[in-house]
């Protein structure tokens, strides 16, 4: 055990020294990187907007339309800067709806609301489509069975 203890102490001292040496070296490198590249690169902000930079698909044929060209061809088009606000608002609303749907999947009333709208139109075709969506194409319960199910209006009925 004495040998192991001596070896253990040796390893501990050497290892902690090497760990500090390595991290101190990385510290100096970090300082050097900050000194050499003090500010974000000029082209960095364009990464999100340039599909050629973010795509790793060599066969991608997608080319983003040039805003200036679009505006020149269509005099009634709105400049990109003016369109940004509504786009951000729409994106935020869409993200909020998507997140609330994911957080409360069983409380999502969208299908239910759609069914009520369908009923208000009183179209048998729409009702049939709603039934299909509700049952996911499965066979409905047989008449006379004592099962509780939800009808297309969302109210619980007992057969």
């Amino acid at each position: 055990m004495t040998n192991d203890l001596t070896q253990g102490l040796y390893i501990a001292v050497i290892a902690i020294g090497l760990v500090f040496t390595a991290t101190a070296t990385f510290f100096l490198i970090l300082i050097a990187l900050r000194w050499i590249f003090p500010t974000p690169d000029q082209d960095e902000g364009n990464f999100g907007n340039n599909p050629q930079l973010i795509s790793d698909d060599q066969n991608s044929e997608y080319e983003e339309p040039d805003d200036r060209e679009t505006e020149a061809n269509n005099p009634q088009s709105i400049p990109a800067s003016q369109e940004l606000g509504p786009k951000i608002a729409a994106a935020a609303a869409a993200i909020y709806l998507e997140m609330s749907a994911q957080e409360h999947p069983y409380q999502n009333k969208t299908d239910h609301d759609r069914n009520i709208q369908t009923m208000q139109k009183s179209s048998w075709g729409n009702i049939g489509r709603s039934l299909l969506m509700d049952t996911q194409g499965s066979r409905p319960p047989a008449a006379g069975t004592n099962r509780t199910q939800q009808n297309i209006l969302g109210t619980r009925i007992r057969k």
Binding site: I16, T21, A22, T23, L30, T39, E44, S55
Partner: protein
């Protein structure tokens, strides 16, 4: 003949029942208590399956045995995990506040304190080092080192101890942090850096760490290499599909396989030993020392910078990402609810990942 008709029932032992209970306990902790569920649930399932009698699942030709040989015996799974960890890690807080990288080194003292304690308790040096690495608070590093140094019987207890204590960081760390700091020190508000790091420095940093880290500690090259390759995939911005794969599919699949393989090493005859309790006790000791040395180094930085560094962030130097950083933030807010330490704590937190990889590599280099 009659035994065959009774299936596995005649072969069940008290040890099997005890281990299946431990497996179910892990699943319970993961599911009900949310203690590292991504690891504890697959490990618990591996324990449960490998202790079912007469199935042969955990033997060399069983499917858990094959998983073990395919990814654990040759250290492949922890390295793939590290690739995913790298792709998930954002080094921006470290690049913005470089001095916090030293806290990542200070928190590695726990490894070596536990190593010495394990030797004093009678373990041989290889097993003691593998037990000590629990103090790195880093699952892949722990498994990587343990599978190379420790007896196979100890792989399971060491891995489970590491992940259990990582899950219990919010319980283990705060009392030590409060004990070693004053109210004034805990209330320090740190300044936020004004500019984000440049794109070039975010790309160059992992490349330099790969080269220099591997030169300083060659045995750490697989860990550091995979960590930084994952991070490079994330930062370059032109291989988004690869980065997403590393962050999601690859790490998820590896986590399942790794958990099951580790669980399969925890059979009754290997796990139900007195030394398992010793491993858990030493793991706790390693975590406590790592936290304490991190905070003490934080205090040194506090005095050196004349009160500009909150010493609590030193506790985030143990690499349990991001749990340790969250604990620092929470303890800081106990003194000052408007003090936002989370981003400052993320610097030493990700530095801890690098520090633990270096420490693991150095130990392997010195002992192999």
């Amino acid at each position: 003949m009659s035994n065959e008709l009774l299936g596995g029932f005649p072969y069940i032992t008290v040890g099997n029942v005890a281990m299946m209970s431990i497996g179910l306990g892990m699943i319970y902790l993961g599911v009900a208590r949310r203690y590292e569920p991504l690891l504890l649930v697959p490990i618990g399932l591996g324990v449960l399956l490998s202790n079912l009698p007469a199935t042969g699942i955990a033997e060399d030709h069983g499917f858990l045995g094959m998983l073990r040989k395919a990814g654990l015996d040759n250290e492949l799974f922890p390295l793939l995990m590290f690739l995913g960890v790298g792709a998930l890690t954002d080094f921006t807080p470290l690049l913005q506040n470089p001095s916090t990288i030293l806290l990542g080194a200070a928190a590695q003292f726990g490894i070596f304190a536990a190593l010495i304690a394990a030797i004093l308790l009678g373990w041989d040096i290889n097993n003691a080092a593998a037990i000590g690495i629990i103090g790195s608070a880093d699952g892949p590093t722990t498994i990587f080192v343990a599978t190379q140094l420790a007896d196979q019987d100890l792989w399971g207890p060491i891995t489970v101890a590491a992940y259990s204590y990582m899950a219990m960081v919010p319980i283990i760390q705060p009392p030590i942090m409060r004990l070693l700091t004053t109210k004034k020190e805990r209330s320090v508000r740190m300044a936020y850096p004004s500019t984000p790091p440049s794109y070039r420095s975010r790309i160059l940093f992992p490349l330099v760490v790969i080269i220099l880290g591997s030169l300083i500690a060659p045995k750490a090259a697989p860990l550091i290499g995979m960590l930084m390759i994952g991070n490079l995939l994330r930062e370059v911005g032109v291989v988004d599909r690869l980065s997403q794969s590393a962050q999601n599919e690859l790490i998820n699949v590896t986590t399942i396989f790794l958990g099951l393989a580790v669980g399969s090493t925890m059979t009754a005859e290997r796990f139900l030993e007195l030394e398992t309790i010793g491993i858990f006790a030493l793991g706790l000791f390693a975590f406590a020392i790592a936290t304490a040395t991190g905070v003490i180094f934080g205090k040194i930085m506090y005095y050196v910078t004349k009160g500009k560094v909150n010493p609590l962030i030193g506790a985030a130097g143990v690499s349990a990402v991001p749990m340790a950083a969250r604990v620092v933030h929470r303890v800081g807010q106990e003194e000052d609810p408007d003090n936002w330490l989370i981003m400052h704590a993320m610097g030493p937190n990700v530095a801890g990942v690098i520090g633990s990889a270096i420490a693991g590599g150095v130990i392997l280099g010195l002992l192999n």
